[in-house]
């Protein structure tokens, strides 16, 4: 009870400082009056809409809650939501519309890296920051001035996955299998895992790719079973991860599988309830916990009627939080150029909502640099962190 009160108090402080209700204006604020305009573009009706809508709901929940509590230093935030249906042409048109007609200060969303890549050109041209959920490594290294991701890059998920593998397998030279979903970002993760395995002298006994539009992983499962690995690392999104793990268990193979952050609490961990299936996440998977950031997150989602376990809700919320914090430190009015300068100095305590603070520097536009790994705990019948705050890395530094 005491911890809950402390957390509630903390949430109040966090709300006051991060959303900055009326009357507690930041130094550069122009005071109350005037509205910030920002945009959101994602897949709301196409093949990845079940993720895009969750992302939109999290984004909207943050700003609705902020507006209901006075906005950002007294300034409400107006958000325009557009649907690209996973079509790059529409993503480009939407981005142009938001930047030129709506004159937004920033845009969030972009569930697909190819949409982010197309929007990146416009972000640079119009000098408006975009915050992408999925982003290819070439936009982050070298860094593009107006392209950000609040999440951890998928390539940097290699180090946390490998760290958990070390914890799970006692052998110093484990037999490792890798299986990845063949997107550009996952191929970078695969390369990172291979680099770490090589550095550590691990034996990679199987290395499989699953095509983007596949529905069957039988061949890959068969080859991995035959290779007899001690641990399996990789990236399979929920349906494929569920099929893969069930395929392993049907053959009495109990090898742990450490999956990337595309596997979710509801569609992966809860669907399987398998203690040897681990899913990485840089943000809270179910919204539970005592941290002030989590209390605020639950309050915002409750007000919006959104379930915290819905996939990608936390991603949208994280993006919104990063943009809002940037607007607050930028003051009012804040155009894209001023916001970009503010974001490059961002360091926001997420109060337990994420694995560490959201930080950007002019050389690094990846907001989170650590991740947690979760699995199902049969003893408590709930999800549990197997590894917390594991630093990210793509294996390039050993």
């Amino acid at each position: 009870m005491f911890r809950s009160r402390i957390a509630l108090l903390g949430a109040g402080v966090l709300l006051a400082s991060s959303l900055a209700a009326c009357g507690s204006s930041g130094g550069s604020s122009g005071g109350s009056g005037g509205t910030y305009s920002i945009g959101f573009n994602s897949d709301l009706s196409g093949p990845y809409s079940l993720n895009g809508v969750g992302q939109r709901d999290g984004f909207k929940a943050y700003f609705d809650y902020a507006n209901a509590h006075g906005g950002i230093d007294g300034h409400k935030v107006s958000v325009t939501y557009l649907d690209d249906a996973s079509d790059v042409t529409r993503a480009t048109a939407n981005t142009t519309q938001l930047m030129t007609a709506k004159k937004v200060s920033a845009i969030g969303g972009y569930i697909l890296s190819n949409a982010c890549g197309a929007a990146a050109v416009l972000a640079q041209k119009n000098k408006v920051p975009i915050n992408c959920s999925a982003v290819s490594d070439d936009l982050m290294n070298p860094v593009q001035p107006y392209v950000y991701t609040a999440r951890m890059l998928q390539s940097n998920e290699a180090a946390p996955e490998a760290q958990l593998a070390k914890q799970l397998v006692k052998s110093s030279t484990p037999r490792v299998a890798i299986i990845i979903f063949a997107s550009a970002a996952s191929v970078a993760l695969q390369q990172g895992l291979q680099a770490i395995a090589k550095t550590n002298g691990w034996n990679v006994v199987a290395n499989e790719q699953v095509p983007l539009d596949t529905t069957d992983v039988s061949s890959q499962t068969a080859k991995i079973i035959a290779a007899k690995p001690d641990v399996i690392l990789g990236s399979l999104y929920d349906p494929l991860a569920v099929s893969f793990v069930k395929g392993l268990r049907a053959k009495q193979v109990q090898t742990p599988f450490v999956d990337y952050d595309g596997a979710t609490y509801k569609g992966g961990i809860l669907a399987l309830k398998d203690p040897a299936f681990y899913a990485l996440s840089s943000t809270s998977v179910d919204g539970t916990g005592d941290g002030a950031g989590l209390v605020q997150y639950r309050a915002a989602l409750k007000a919006a009627g959104v379930d915290a376990t819905t996939p990608f809700v936390s991603t949208g919320y994280l993006q919104a939080w990063s943009i809002a914090a940037g607007l607050k430190s930028c003051g009012y009015p804040c155009d894209g150029t001023k916001l970009q300068a503010a974001l490059d100095k961002q360091n926001v305590d997420t109060g337990g909502f994420a694995a560490g603070p959201i930080t950007y520097t002019p050389d690094r536009h990846e907001g989170l640099q650590a991740a947690n790994l979760y699995h199902w705990d049969p003893s408590t019948n709930s999800v549990k962190a197997a590894l917390e705050n594991a630093p990210g890395g793509d294996g390039s530094n050993g």
Partner: protein
């Protein structure tokens, strides 16, 4: 045969059976109405969601939920024809294809609004442990279900089209709609039934997919589209060819994934399709079409 190759082969047979069930809907609809329906993947998704609701929320047993879902999908399919596609009779094939793409987006959005975001995974209704074996080919209950379902659906529809009055009327409408209508065959009713069968088959494929994997829009729409090369291989207007096309396509995909790596599976499948069509443009069992120039 090694154990791992045997397991990959079983996976290919199951995948081929899914292609066949969704592909048969393509073929029936094309035979009866000349509509190439690119909404089959979205219809699969809708069937999966209806099944999920009946089984998980309403508590119906899975066989009952499956039958009820297939019937509901049939009714919806017929309604789609009556409400939308009947008004497009006589339109150019390109217009009809675009209309089915629009229908696909509409259905996807309806699913999103009704069932909300996120994938759904059903608890295992059938065991994934070995049920029967042929050498080292181990088939689980869920494998057997998928394969038997496809064979039953394809054989039943093939027999119905060839030997029942309804089937003969549908074929008459497909071959000579004007003549059929002059012989008092209700063309609209036959077309609505074809839509009902196509949607029912897509629903069954969605259920089989959901029981094995999850209710997943990206995966189901991808499978719905991959059924198209399967029916081109079998023959666009051949009911029996669907089985052959589905299994050949799945074997090509799984063989490539096994021997060359996953990144080669779809490339190989399309290469096989192109190679077959170069040699035999009407597919394995497609009917010969005489065009007078």
């Amino acid at each position: 045969m090694s154990n791992e190759l045997a397991q990959a082969l079983v996976g290919a047979l199951v995948l081929g059976s899914l292609y066949s069930v969704v592909g048969i809907g393509f073929v029936i609809l094309y035979k009866a109405t000349r509509v190439l329906n690119f909404a089959q993947g979205s219809l699969m998704l809708l069937g999966g969601f209806i099944f999920y609701t009946l089984n998980q929320d309403a508590g119906l047993s899975w066989p009952l939920a499956m039958v009820a879902s297939a019937l509901a999908m049939g009714v919806l399919g017929g309604a789609m024809y009556v409400l939308f596609f009947r008004r497009l009779v006589g339109a150019a094939e390109f217009t009809l294809v675009i209309a089915t793409l629009g229908l696909s987006v509409l259905l996807l959005t309806v699913c999103l609004v009704v069932w909300g975001p996120g994938t759904r995974t059903l608890p295992d209704q059938l065991s994934r442990k070995s049920l029967i074996s042929f050498g080292n080919l181990d088939f689980s209950s869920i494998d057997v279900f998928s394969i038997v379902l496809s064979v039953v659906v394809v054989v039943a529809l093939d027999l119905a089209l060839r030997h029942t009055r309804l089937g003969i009327k549908m074929r008459a409408v497909a071959d000579q709609p004007l003549l059929a209508s002059q012989l008092k065959v209700n063309v609209n009713r036959m077309s609505a039934i074809a839509w009902a069968i196509a949607a029912g088959c897509a629903g069954l494929a969605g259920i089989a997919y959901a029981m094995r994997l999850s209710i997943d829009p990206a995966g189901m729409t991808a499978l719905g589209l991959l059924a198209f090369p399967a029916i081109l291989l079998g023959g666009l207007d051949s009911v029996r060819g669907v089985l052959a096309g589905g299994f050949v396509l799945a074997l090509a995909q799984s063989g490539a994934a096994f021997y060359l790596g996953g990144e080669w599976s779809n490339v190989t499948a399309y290469a096989v399709m192109l190679a077959v069509l170069l040699v035999r443009p009407r597919g394995f069992f497609g009917s010969r079409l005489a065009v007078r120039l």
